[in-house]
Amino acid sequence: MSSLHDLLAHEVVEGIKEGLFTAEEYVSSLIKTIEDVESKLNSFITLDTVGALSSAKLIDRKIKENEDIGYLGGVAVGIKDNISTKDIRTTCASKILEDYVPSYDATVIRNLKQNGAIILGKLNLDEFGMGSTTEYSRYYPTHNPWNLDYVPGGSSGGCGAAVAAGECTVSLGSDTGGSIRCPASFCSVVGLKPTYGRVSRYGLISYANSLEQIGPICRSVKDIALIMNIISGKDNSDNTSMSSSPITINNKLDKFDIAIVKELINDGDHGVTGTIYSTSDKFKEIGCTCDEISIKNLHYALPSYYTLASAEASSNLARYDNIRYGFDLPIEEYKWDTYFSNVRKNFGEEVKRRILIGSYVLSSGYYSKYYLKARSLRSLLKLELLKLFKKYDLLIGPTMPILPFKFGEKIDDPIKMYLVDINTVIANLAGIPAISLPIGFSNGLPIGLQMMAAPFEEQKLIDVSHALENTINIQRRPNLT
């Protein structure tokens, strides 16, 4: 058997149920891995090893007493630090929330716990999810486990790195413009951004609530399906949530019609482009057709995304007023506006830039020039994609058109950094599901394939990903010794 920290989630549940090892032995193995590699990676902001071991002992007691341990009994999960966890500090990688301890669990956390999952700790991100590298975390950047000099992607960079390195078995991230898929691609793990509304956002600390979704990052497609079936569903606390059919793992693949989107592959890194084209040949091997198509409105997707995301950020982050939680700054010497502005100077530079841009595009004179146009483009793009999905089951391209890059390469130029998201924002604007699947390496750095489907067609993404995963055998574990 593999080392316990190498096991996939479904193997952990089976192993514990069959008595091959205890939950405590498995969690201890993960904690040992964290002790060995965390100083190199900085994946976590907060660890709860004591809580995790105590939950593991509870699972072991249930096994002894022949009680049900749930679909995820014993599986150790890392949680992006913008998802509320009762009694565990939730910082959003921001100084503004450095001491914030939620009094409630997000719905996804409640669902995980009810199904026997163990929360191992909170994972690093770009402050409030704004970034693509974790360099905008106000604590420290996370390192890419495949090459420590390179960024792990973001904003859920801690989630990608921790799962790839075996510090936790699965993680939950959030994806506003590619924040699950980018680190999944850069760290060679699988990441799914679900259809908008499939997973409750209750307890996800909002940055751009019309775009963001919580989703899993795992080392196998089967684990993605397992986690999705636990976290999906209608939740009365999130009015945008909807019920959906469970996802299954099918070993027989239907014949799917697939299209490569030219605009997603043009101007990409040669290593990335070559690997995508050789993977498209594999689609034919597994019985699918593969055309090349063009999407007319893609040119406007990224400027629309940054207009809408910044506008929503400027509104959502207005709640950080230091009245209910925040710094120890006495109120007596200040008037309201000066107090508010003085506290909020503690946001990081990227958060400030986005709030300022959001205020700009929403202000009188610019609202119709930018914000309304961005909303219209969003609808146009969605209509164009829905029409394409009548002909094709999946639209594909590289998740990231470039390979992971070195720290500091793009940090001084916000536009260079924003362009990293050019292939991923489409799915958020249209509210459709998209998966990133590891398909190879170039110069030792990972490459991910992005596949998008019509709303609530996650099953198609899982079917094709599962078939491809079995066809493409790639190295799964980075060498961190």
């Binding site: 207009t307 207005a318 009245i323 939680y325 508010f340 830039r353 930018y370 483009l377 924003y418």
Partner: protein
């Protein structure tokens, strides 16, 4: 180019104090971003009459019912007679 006055105005309506360093480098960075989103100007006006798919349908919203938190956790001692204390408005 965003002027010093415009940046000050944006910071004021956003309620954020900027450091000297930020006040110096933000105008160029924000300009680049605005120049980039100016691509949206190329959209033909016919395209803008599209149905807004994000429109909220108010009859689909649930009733707004006040529920008390199981536990109200204020991290700072800023309560008085059961109310939160804030700075003076003026």
């Amino acid at each position: 180019m965003i002027s010093k006055d415009e940046l000050e105005y944006l910071a004021q309506i956003s309620k954020i104090n900027l450091s000297e360093d930020e006040a110096k480098k933000f105008p160029e960075q924000l300009d680049k971003t605005i120049e980039y989103i100016d691509i949206l100007e190329e959209l033909a006006s016919d395209d803008l009459n599209v149905l807004d798919l994000q429109e909220v349908k108010f009859d689909e919203l649930r009733d707004d019912v006040v529920k008390m938190s199981e536990e109200l956790r204020i991290t700072k001692n800023m309560t008085e007679d059961g109310f939160l204390r804030g700075p003076k408005m003026k």
